[in-house]
Symmetry: C2
Subunit: 374 residues, 2 copies
């Protein structure tokens, strides 16, 4: 495929793969797409290790790194001397204890890889910029910023290194704000997407954003996991697509087996936009976790970001382990960020095969459209 | 455009226009599309008059008629001897009185064109079939059934007359059920659509429905008001598109002026799926009406269909008149069914021009896609 964006970024297909798994990132990049590693899962040291691993496998082909910097954060996160866990109210701790006991999760609290303070502060401008500083020591080809506009220091560092900055948006207003903050590439993400997402559907959002920010190139995200959907997104005016959910059921993905089974079985009605995992609305698999937080009688309601992230991650570490042991209540609670395309995912495939199938189906869809138009 | 569906239905473009205004239906049909009149706005006698008016203007070109037959109805609607208004609880009457007074609507109750019983029962199988019996005396080219599967007597009458039946769906399961009930054409409608709609976005729903019901042809609905969106829908596998919102701001539409102004000013964030107008989730303009019913402290919660329709229509008749008189509270309450594409509608145009612009932009989008694919 020959698009201006492909030439600029040095890829064969304008197919961006967001994943927290280095294996997926390397596989998609090696197949001619553009892998983007979600850095928020890692400490700066871990990120360095992951990127070195990727560097050794992609042979100079381009890949990127994604961070999360919300415009609004719970004030606790900005107080550098505070212990974030001190800000989690007793009611919320009690609710989680009650929930795990109600669902019979017997697995004890798990040791965590990073301190809660370090983990919670990865989503501050300072934390995200720290991750990007590490990434810039590697031959990355893109920095992506989800939620709020990229912090000025991040844009400055990227500019100096000659690396384009992409930013995710859910409204036209956000798109204008991101371009003003220095974004070189906009990812317009519809409500059907997994993870943090707005209310406007991809079909409506993409053309509006394309027209609003032209000539800044736009990628479409949300509802895209096949070549027909890729063709549709590009018919709307996008120069490429940004996919996340479709990689969760690939062979390379480190998705927890219990979650992978739920993803493969789920229909497109089985997702919900919920604040129960991060404190901000994020689409994810409906589960006892989302139901109890969102409509349970005893729910104290989710906290802000990053406090709810800390609450959820600690609980989900236990739930995940218990689900692997086959504890049925834990399987009910287990969930993960995924878009409405989950209804299409019913088979485990290598990531490379997903790329090739999408590109081939894209060509078929375009050929079919062309024949109608004659 | 040459598609199998165009040939079968005798149209130039597979562009279906759902409207309650006969002028829009005739204009789209005369421009080479396929107008579909929403019959639920009329008594059988009125419908006969409207269809005769259309017949005199379209010179034999094809148009259709749409009815609404939900799978589940409030039991009151099925008791032929009951007065439907007797089933509206005191709390709901009081809430409407309180609402109109809170927003300073001084316009008195309005005489209604039809009895509440007749109006409420248009959405029963018997009521809808009565409307279709009238329609079948005209040279219609399509019967469409929204919400539940078409009643067997309606399918039988259509079959005998050789008229195809279309059915709207929001999930794959509904699509299977509609085909089993005898639908010849499926309209897969995404959550971004105006009116009664489900939760799954068009981008995700359409390919799933296309694959599920093949070789039954599928139209895409929801999020489609431009040629790029039409091309996207057809890239997903749809054989055509079904549009409603885009006609509300055409010259021909009889949309109340106060509502038209709100539609032209609205962004794609200004709609909500609410049960406050019909008793079933329907996307519409956010307004004081939807806010008060959906989250007002004193709200008794909406009734089922058709009782909530009666409550809302009577109130909205007063609100509409008061809004025309410039009463500001009435303007706050006024709303109408519309999809997220409302953010694209910022100009009043003749319906014919909308058709030609969509077809022309469709061709441009396909050409652009083809050039990328080479």
């Amino acid at each position: 495929m020959r698009t201006a964006l492909c030439e600029r970024l040095g890829v064969e297909f304008p197919l961006f793969a967001f994943s927290h798994c280095r294996d997926v990132v390397a596989a998609v990049t090696n197949a001619g797409g553009f892998g983007v590693l979600g850095a928020i899962a890692y400490t700066p040291e871990q990120l360095d290790t992951e990127l070195t691993w990727i560097d050794e496998r992609v042979n100079g082909r381009p890949y990127g790194v994604d961070v999360l910097v919300p415009g609004k954060l719970d004030a606790s996160a900005l107080d550098r001397d505070a212990h974030l866990t001190d800000f989690i109210p007793e009611r919320h701790r009690d609710f989680v204890t009650h929930l795990l006991s109600k669902y019979g999760v017997s697995t004890p609290p798990q040791p965590v890889a990073a301190s809660a303070d370090e983990f919670g502060r990865r989503v501050t401008a300072a934390g995200a910029t720290g991750l990007i500083d590490v990434a810039l020591k590697h031959p990355i080809g893109l920095i992506a910023s989800a939620l709020g506009p990229p912090p000025p220091e991040m844009v400055a560092a990227a500019r100096q290194a000659g690396i384009p900055v992409a930013a995710l948006v859910g409204t036209v207003e956000h798109a204008h704000r991101q371009v003003a903050a220095g974004a070189d590439l906009i990812v317009a993400q519809g409500t059907e997407a997994g993870g943090h997402t707005g209310e406007i559907a991809t079909m409506v959002l993409v053309p509006q954003v394309v027209d609003a920010v032209a000539p800044v190139p736009v990628l479409a995200a949300g509802g895209i996991a096949s070549g027909r959907q890729m063709a549709a997104a590009m018919a709307l005016g996008a120069e490429g697509v940004w996919c996340g959910s479709v990689w969760l059921t690939t062979e390379e993905a480190e998705t927890a087996p219990a979650v992978k089974r739920k993803l493969l079985a789920a229909s497109s009605l089985d997702t919900v936009r919920s604040r129960s995992r991060t404190g901000k609305p994020a689409r994810q698999l409906k589960s006892a976790w989302t139901e109890e937080w969102d409509s349970g009688q005893e729910s104290p309601g989710p906290l802000g970001m990053p406090l709810q992230m800390l609450v959820a991650e600690a609980a989900m570490a236990r739930v995940g382990l218990a689900a692997e042991r086959g504890e049925p209540g834990a399987v009910e609670l287990a969930n993960y960020f995924v878009g409405q395309v989950v209804g299409q995912l019913d088979q485990v495939k290598p990531a490379r095969e997903v790329v090739y199938e999408m590109v081939s189906e894209f060509a078929d869809a375009v050929e079919r459209l062309s024949s109608l138009s004659q």
